[in-house]
Each structure stands twice: as C-alpha cells, then as structure tokens.
C-alpha cells in the first residue's frame, strides 16, 4: 500500500468550467479517507484524476512519494470500484475477477488461486459461473469489490459504491468495507455524497464544495467545529440552524442582537479578540438541532411556530418558523415526552454554549 498526495491539483474543462481548484490533501498509508460533497463538488473528479482516467490541468499527484501525472492508468496499480459497478456484462463472475490478473499477464494457475482466495473472502464461491445480470445488487457490489481486491493494488478508490443499494444493505456493506479496510491496512479513498455514510465510515473526512476543499478532519471535528457555513449546513442530519444576528456591546460583554431578543456570546468566544473586531457587523449564528429546546413562550425570548413534526420513534424532529425572522426555518431535536401540535407557538431556548458564529464571508469566527 502507498500514501497519496494531491498538490495544488486543478481540473478545468475546455468550456472554462472548473471541476477542481487548488486541491491539496495528504492521505496516509493505510488510511481510509472519505471525500464528501454534493454532486458537482469535484469529488469524483479527484478519483478520476488519481486513477488516470482524466488529466489534471495543473498540479501534481503523488503515489508513494512519486509523481504519477504522466503514468497511464494501467501502470498506476490502483483499483477502483464504480458507482454502477462496471462489471463486464458478457463475462462470468470468475472472468470478471480474473480480468485484471489476465491483463497483468499472470500465469493461469496463479490467477485461479487468487480468484479462489478473493471469492472465499467475499463469499462469492457459489456465484463464480454466473453472469452479472444474474446477480442481485448486493452480489454485484461484492464482485466489484472482489475485482478491486484481487489485484492487491497500492490503493483502493471507491466512487459512491453503495448508492445503488437499499438502505439496509448499505449499512451492512458499509461496515464490511470498513472492516476489510482495517484488516488489509489498505489506503482507501471513498467518495460519497451521503454525509451520514461519510461520518460513520471515515477516519478523516474531506468536505468539498464547488471544486474546492472546505475542511478536512475527523467526523467529530467537522461536526463540532465546522470551518465555514457550507460545512456547518452539510454535515449533520438535519444540518445546522443558521440565522443572522448583529454583534453589539452589552452592559458588560458582547451580545448577539437578534430581532426582539439578545443572546449572550458564548464564553469561549468572548475572551477572544476576533469577535471584538466584528462589533456592529451582521454575523451568522449557527446552532445544531439538539441545541434548541422547546418550552412555553417567555417574555423577550425567541418564539417560533411549529410547521411540522417528524417522529423518528425515539426522538422527534420539529420544524419551526422563527417569529423574529420571517421565512427563517429552524429544526429542533426533542424527546418524545411533551405533546406538540402543528401550528403551536413555542418558546425557544438556545443553548448558547452550543453556538457557532460565522463572519459575513461564511468563515467560522473562533
């Protein structure tokens, strides 16, 4: 296995559109790195550039410390699992698994042994003579994984490998992939648009948006300290509640002035110089759904009208329309106890220790 480094990598298309801009990332040997972002964020472009299917416009790709920009795909010794699996429809499972080995010119006996090994690991033994069309979605996914595994590549690239599976199978195979990665100590880059998948799978996650890297870090770091508005809204399900507030000087400390009420600035932030520089400015205040508590309305406190309640069994997601900012939607996570009615006006307690602040450009203030 090998480490992977992206240096100032960019991809522009002839029509001028930019799929990837100045992308820098180091993936350690044996690490599982998840690239996550909405469609069009450039995450699949990164895989295609790394695999050699597309050429970068500028920047360098390093595999095991060596620049591989000019190396054709067949010499990069990377394995890729595609979203639609890309199994060869005219070949049996056995022939699909053997194909990369055959292309590498390995002797037949070796190919037979390696295919048998991989089929054993992935429980494909009984399916070896079938064609891809005769397999279920989960089985096809397994064959695609097998075709990647059989080559003993320097790194695995997985491009949304679970997006064609139903939810239950997705959860199961997700944990299998993670277990496999740990067992093989494999360098793996896993692309997904599903932030839940990213959070549960990645040791580190790289969040992309519009071809630009937004933040890299552990799932915990991204959740607790999003670097900007995009990450705040994208990571977490549902995403962070965001509303504008003006930084003002209160009696003895800075406050966040909203329409009709004021929030104390979290202690962690008041001591810092950075917020002082923003006095008078309109900032974005972010708070996770679990940072909002619902109760009876109180005087000079924020209120909101319940627009919908989603019951998840052990908790509820309550969607609200903020009364202090028309059109501002909020989401609160609550337990199952208190009765809640659609249309009801609720008082909102905002846990000011759980606040996140973003400057007008969307960058976190900390």
């Amino acid at each position: 296995m090998a480490d992977i480094e992206f240096r100032q990598l960019s991809k522009r298309y002839p029509d001028g559109s930019e799929a990837l801009v100045d992308f820098n990332l180091m993936v350690d040997d044996g690490e599982l790195m998840v690239l996550v972002g909405p469609s069009g964020s450039g995450k699949s472009t990164i895989l295609r550039l790394l695999a050699g299917l597309d050429r970068p416009s500028s920047g360098e790709l390093l595999l095991g410390g060596k620049v591989i920009n000019e190396l054709p795909p067949q010499q990069r010794q990377l394995a890729m699992v595609f979203q639609n699996y890309a199994l060869y429809p005219h070949m049996s499972v056995r022939a699909n698994l053997a194909f990369p080995l055959k292309m590498a010119g390995l002797p037949r006996a070796v190919i037979r042994r390696k295919v048998a090994d991989v089929a054993g690991v992935l429980e494909l033994d009984a399916l070896l003579e079938r064609k891809p069309a005769q397999l279920s979605g989960g089985q096809r996914q397994r064959v695609a994984m097998g075709r990647a595994l059989v080559r003993e590549p320097r790194a695995f690239l997985l491009d949304e490998p679970l997006s064609n599976l139903d939810a239950k199978l997705r959860t199961q195979i997700r944990s299998e992939i993670a277990a496999l990665q740990r067992r093989l100590q494999a360098t793996m880059i896993y692309v997904t648009h599903d932030q839940v998948e990213a959070m549960t799978l990645g040791e580190r996650i790289a969040v992309l948006h519009q071809g630009r890297l937004q933040q890299v870090g552990s799932p915990q770091l991204l959740y607790e300290h999003p670097a900007n508005l995009f990450v705040a809204g994208f990571i977490g399900s549902p995403g962070m509640n965001l509303f504008p507030a003006r930084v003002a000087r209160g009696r003895d400390a800075l406050i966040l002035q909203c329409e009709g009420f004021a929030l104390p600035v979290p202690e962690e932030l008041t001591t810092q110089q950075s917020l002082g520089a923003h006095v008078g400015e309109l900032l974005w205040v972010g708070v996770r759904p679990e940072g909002l508590a619902l109760g009876a309305p109180i005087a000079a406190g924020p209120t909101a009208r319940i627009s919908a309640v989603e019951v998840l069994g052990y908790e509820r997601l309550v969607y609200l329309e903020a009364s202090w900012a028309p059109g501002q939607r909020l989401c609160a996570r609550t337990g199952m106890q208190e009765p809640l009615q659609t249309g009801e006006i609720m008082g909102i307690q905002i846990d000011h220790h759980a606040l996140h602040l973003f400057d007008p450009d969307g960058r976190a203030v900390d």
């Binding site: 890729m80 639609n84 060869y88 194909f99």
Partner: protein, 274 residues
C-alpha cells in the same frame, strides 16, 4: 381497440403479401416446366405449384458455370464483410471514444461521404484502379468497399451508447486501447456487428455496376453479372432464369434468418430506419 388491432394486422398482412409475392412467384416458377411459367403468370396460378421438378436447376448448371459465379460472389462478399467489420468497427471506436487531433474533422468527413453514391465516384475510382493495374481481379471488387462510411457511422453511434465506465474499469484493470476494444467492446456490441454484417452482405451480394465496369472475364465475375448475362443467353427460358434467381436469393435469406434476432436488435439500438 380490438378493431384497431385487427386493422393493423390486416395492413401488415397485405404488405407482407405484397413484398413476398414476387419472391414466391420466382421460387414456385423455378419448379415449373419452362413453357408454363409465363402462361400461368397472369393470375393466382402463378403462386400455385402446378408441377414440381428440379429440371430448371439442372439446366442452369448445364448451361453456365453457376458454381464458379457463386464461389466468386461468396468469396468477394465474405472478404468485404469480414475485413469491413474489423476496419469500420475500429474506425467507429476511434471516432467515438479516443481523443486525437483531427477527430472532429474526420468524423465530419465520414458523414459527408455518407451521402455520396458509388455512381458519382465510379469514374475516378475506375481510373484509380486502372492505374493500380487491379482491373479484372478479386481485389478490385473487394478493397474499395471494405471501408464504408455508413458502417463506420453505425458503429460510432452504437459505441457512443456503451457505458463509458466499462472502458474506464478496463483501463484501470490494466487494458490498453486495443485490448479494451477486443475484450470489452466487441463482445458487448454483437448487435452492431450483426447489423453491419447483414447490411454489407445484402448490398455487396447485389453489386452490379462496379463489377460490370472493372471485370471482363468470367473467372472473377459475381452472380449479378452472371444472371444479367444468363438472361440474354438464348434460348430465353423463364424457368431457368427463375431457378438461377432462386439460387442467388437463397444465401441472402439464409444470412438474414440466421442473424435476424441480432439484426432487429441492432436496428432498434442504433435508432436506424431501414
């Protein structure tokens, strides 16, 4: 709904009869005695076998070297079909999938060539093969027809529809362009290959003008020239001509019936109308 369906069937049946009647006339006529073919041609009798004998077929073989012409036609057509599949499929693949300088220009040129009929270029082509000293040979009937703009275009549009991920997967699995073509593209494009093979076979099997221009000896002449010649060979015997025609059509029917399944799929897949 049922009435509409019945009408549709009726129209289809009528059309089928219309197209099949001349073929049936020929096949049945070839089994009749010479004298009765024209006499019975005026009515339904034409389609009823009043007698069945293979005498006309024996006559054909006795009067001309039918086997020789048949062999020539089979050889020439097979060469064009087989070499054509290889050349045109590779060209279609290069145009559809590979990135190279001048690709768009060449593709436009191929499209332009599509609309030029052989008749328009027959004379310059004739000069060309004369200069090469190819006249009155098999080559002169084969080489100019291997590369075919229509076949290239058909392959091109078929290959465009193949999922690109298959080729990407094969590239990552270590295959180069040629191996991708033979291991991945060809096995997944049987419908396109069958369609091109049949269309080429049908066109070339009936080729008349070009062989007429460039061949002079019976040694290399194909069936269409032979039947034209046979028609003018006294005595004029319609039973024999029908027997000749029937034997000429038989390979076409065989090829079509053999590949019909693929052919229909290929035509449907390429959105091509007959």
């Amino acid at each position: 709904m049922n009435l509409r369906r019945a009408c549709a069937y009726l129209i289809l049946l009528a059309a089928a009869l219309l197209f099949f009647a001349p073929v049936a006339f020929m096949l049945i006529g070839s089994l009749k005695a010479d004298a009765r073919v024209l006499v019975e041609a005026g009515g339904l009798q034409a389609l009823l076998p009043s007698s069945a004998s293979l005498q006309n077929y024996r006559d054909v073989f006795a009067r001309v070297a039918f086997g020789r012409y048949l062999g020539n036609s089979l050889f020439i057509t097979s060469c064009i079909v087989i070499l054509g599949l290889l050349v045109n499929a590779l060209a279609g693949y290069a145009l559809a999938r590979l990135e190279w300088r001048g690709r768009r220009f060449l593709f436009a040129a191929v499209l332009a060539i599509l609309i030029i009929p052989l008749e328009a270029i027959a004379v310059p082509l004739f000069y060309e093969v004369t200069l090469l000293g190819w006249r009155d040979s098999y080559w002169v009937q084969i080489v100019p027809f291997i590369a075919n703009a229509f076949a290239v275009y058909l392959f091109y549009s078929f290959f465009l529809e193949l999922p690109r991920a298959l080729e990407d997967a094969a590239r990552i699995d270590g295959a180069g362009a040629l191996r991708i073509f033979f291991y991945i593209i060809v096995p997944n494009s049987r419908a396109a290959f069958a369609t091109v093979a049949i269309l080429t076979f049908l066109t070339q099997w009936g080729a008349f003008l070009w062989p007429l221009l460039v061949t002079s000896s019976e040694r290399v002449r194909p069936l269409p020239l032979a039947i034209a010649n046979f028609y003018s060979l006294p005595p004029l015997q319609w039973g024999d001509i029908f027997a000749f025609g029937s034997m000429m059509v038989a390979p076409i029917l065989a090829v079509f019936l053999l590949f019909q399944r693929w052919f229909v799929r290929g035509i449907a897949a390429t959105g091509l109308k007959g």
